[in-house]
């Protein structure tokens, strides 16, 4: 029974959660939302050649990322994890630089932030998470790896191979599928045989959890449970957060060609930021004054990041050559010289 039927229609509740946690969730989701809006604007202004929006997926991303410990865990993202990055503490000017096409993997320090490089190969980074997690187990450390991927990515062979490896090796890894119901123009029913990625977990002998991806608290709780299990030697978990891709696939996309935008209305009304705010008010976890302050701060931070990325210097062409190897080669040095003589001038 997919959660959009069971709880998808209604409100969410956060009464059982610590108020501090819900405030943090709200702050990060709100900031991500504002930054997303700024990014779309930057794309329209021609500062970004393209952008992939996370609008509507803030609960799935922030809810999960806040269940991790940035001091010992490690995240393996796709290209659509801006809100996760933000919540995990990644330096966001460096993160957004990828959308200005300044550097493919982003300009934040991957090892410092323990948040892997932005990765455009659908499914490709998922086995990395398993390797990282295995490395943790081999050393006797207790970090947990988080692999983010989409419903479309679940079709790739790499995701299967990774889940099977994780099961066999009992690796502390969380396979976090944001099922936003679309892989570019292809809807779930023509993508995911059987209809559920979480349901696949059983076939690998690991727990599979289906969670309302627009309920930040529910996502956080489900992820925290999986993290706890993995940290204590309980092995991998598949989490499927059911949500919706409100915006086009990217700013280059034209969803009018393949979906009825009226259908997105339902999901627009289930806006995770709005839902969380209402639930917090309801639970007495925050009042209007709190939200006014947080909203203002979120807007300010989003503007700061926006200005930072818009003003960031373009990388120097020498960087083409300096990062290929740790120990460069004579041939590459020769090519670098050619570049200096024939291109740089």
């Amino acid at each position: 029974m997919p959660p959009q039927e069971s709880k998808g229609q209604g409100a969410i509740t956060v009464e059982h959660l610590p108020p501090e946690l819900t405030r943090r969730l709200y702050r990060d989701m709100r900031t991500a939302r504002d930054l997303d809006t700024e990014a779309i604007a930057l794309q329209r202004q021609g500062v970004f050649p393209a952008y992939v929006s996370v609008r509507g997926q803030e609960a799935a991303q922030v809810g999960s990322a806040t269940a991790l410990d940035p001091a010992r865990d490690f995240v393996f993202p796709t290209y659509r994890e801006m809100a996760s990055a933000l919540a995990y503490g990644v330096e966001m000017v460096g993160y957004m630089a990828t959308h200005r096409a300044l550097w493919h993997g982003g300009l934040y320090d991957v090892m410092d932030s323990r948040f892997g490089a932005i990765n455009a190969v659908v499914g490709g980074p998922v086995p990395h998470a398993v390797g990282w997690a295995l490395g943790e187990r081999l050393r006797g450390d207790d970090g947990v790896a988080m692999a983010y991927f989409g419903d479309g990515a679940s079709s790739e062979g790499d995701v299967h191979e990774a889940m099977n490896f994780a099961g066999v090796l009992a690796a502390p890894v969380i396979f976090f599928c944001q099922n936003n119901q679309w892989a570019l123009s292809v809807p779930n029913e023509r993508q995911v045989a059987g209809g559920s990625v979480a349901a696949r977990a059983e076939g690998y002998g690991m727990p599979g959890v289906l969670v309302d991806g627009n309920d930040a608290g529910a996502v956080h709780t489900a992820t925290a449970e999986a993290v706890e299990r993995a940290r204590n030697g309980g092995g991998p978990t598949v989490i499927e957060a059911l949500t919706y891709r409100i915006e086009p696939h990217s700013t280059s996309d034209d969803p009018g060609r393949y979906r009825d935008e009226a259908d997105t209305e339902h999901w627009r009304r289930r806006d995770p930021v709005v839902l969380l705010r209402a639930a917090m008010l309801e639970a007495g976890h925050a009042d209007e004054e709190h939200f006014a302050a947080v909203d203002a701060e979120a807007a300010r931070r989003a503007e700061q990041v926006r200005d930072g990325v818009a003003d960031a210097p373009e990388p120097d062409g020498s960087e083409l050559f300096t990062h290929v190897f740790r120990e460069t080669t004579e041939e590459l040095t020769r090519q670098h010289r050619t570049w200096q003589e024939e291109v740089e001038l």
Partner: protein, 339 residues
């Protein structure tokens, strides 16, 4: 642009129409789907969306979702499925969405598609045409600007072609899909939107022939895909200085037109090969080796190679610094003339 495609009569092949390459390919697919009920077009997002470059725009509507259909997101299975369809008598025309996402399908392409006819001693031919948006120049995200021609050309059992303009794209696709051998058809993304008045014509030149795009006598520029246009620009500039460059569009990257290359360079005595892929072990090495083997006594200078650098394809502002520039090609021309 959809309108234009809808209006044009696909049976009047010789009409001159103004089309972009993306429209010309669309047109060729319509001809193929119409003439041969065994032709199937499939891949990621090729159906309702019409592909990310709109190359398959309108085809699902016109031919139905049994002939033109979306697959789940898995490149290896797309090519593997093509093998099985071919064994069941179909003529598959799969698309892989971007060059960089052909890598997950390399096993199926190299170990299966390219070898099934050989493995079965001719019993199970593979009339598969893989459409692969290729090469760079559009400042796209990572993995969206790769040049895989060296890998494919090195693979026995594959034929490889890269058109350089709309008319070429049209006739080469007809030829590729009608061929009973597997063909990798590499579409230069950077040229998709370049509109030209073109005469859409049936293929006449045999598979494996190159073409002279612009004749000249001081040196031969060899290129394919988007670099053909760049070489023509170079030739125009050089002409202002009285240097007459011949531009040879290799177009078939396997089999390579060794005779055509030799005929041109035997006349010009000098050659520069230009490609987007990295230098080392790129197809330019093969072109240089072929020219040198066949024109050793005529060559006045070693074949120059102007290529991408031996670095992973870069992002945005660095892309024009990675790709062969007009200046770099001109400098190579100068080097060969002054050798």
């Amino acid at each position: 642009m959809t309108e234009l495609i809808e209006r044009a009569d696909t049976t009047v092949e010789s009409a001159v129409v103004e089309l972009s390459m993306q429209q010309a390919i669309n047109r060729a697919l319509r001809v193929l789907l119409t003439e041969d009920p065994d032709v199937l077009v499939f891949g990621e997002d090729v159906g309702a969306l019409g592909g990310v470059f709109r190359v398959t725009d309108g085809l699902q509507k016109e031919f139905g979702d049994q002939r033109v259909f979306d697959t789940p997101l898995a490149e290896s299975a797309i090519m593997g499925m093509a093998v099985g369809l071919a064994m069941n008598g179909w003529r598959p025309v799969p698309e892989l969405q971007f060059d960089g996402f052909a890598y997950p399908a390399v096993d199926q392409i190299v170990n299966q598609v390219a070898r099934m006819n050989y493995r079965t001693r001719g019993a199970a031919p593979m009339p598969i045409t893989l459409r692969l948006p290729s090469f760079g120049g559009i400042q796209a995200p990572e993995h969206h600007g790769e040049s895989l021609e060296a890998l494919f050309a090195h693979t026995p059992g594959l034929k490889v072609v890269a058109p350089s303009d709309p008319a070429e794209a049209y006739s080469l696709l007809l030829q590729s899909v009608r061929s009973d051998d597997p063909v990798v058809y590499m579409e230069p993304k950077a040229r998709y939107w370049d509109r030209r008045p073109v005469r859409l014509s049936e293929p006449t030149d045999p598979i494996g022939t190159s073409r002279i795009v612009r004749p000249g006598r001081h040196a031969t520029l060899v290129a394919w895909g988007a670099m053909v246009h760049r070489c023509v620009q170079v030739a125009e500039l050089a002409a202002e200085d009285g240097v007459e460059l011949e531009v040879l569009d290799l177009r078939w990257l396997k089999p390579i037109d060794a005779a055509g290359l030799a005929a041109s360079v035997a006349r010009t005595k000098r050659a520069v090969v230009v490609h987007e892929a990295p230098l080392t072990a790129g197809l330019g090495a093969e072109v240089a080796a072929l020219i040198t083997e066949n024109c050793f006594r005529e060559l006045a200078a070693p074949v120059q190679r102007v290529t991408g650098f031996d670095v992973p394809y870069p992002a945005g502002p660095l892309e024009p610094q990675y790709l062969p520039t007009i200046d770099r090609v001109l400098l190579a021309v100068q080097r060969t003339l002054e050798y």
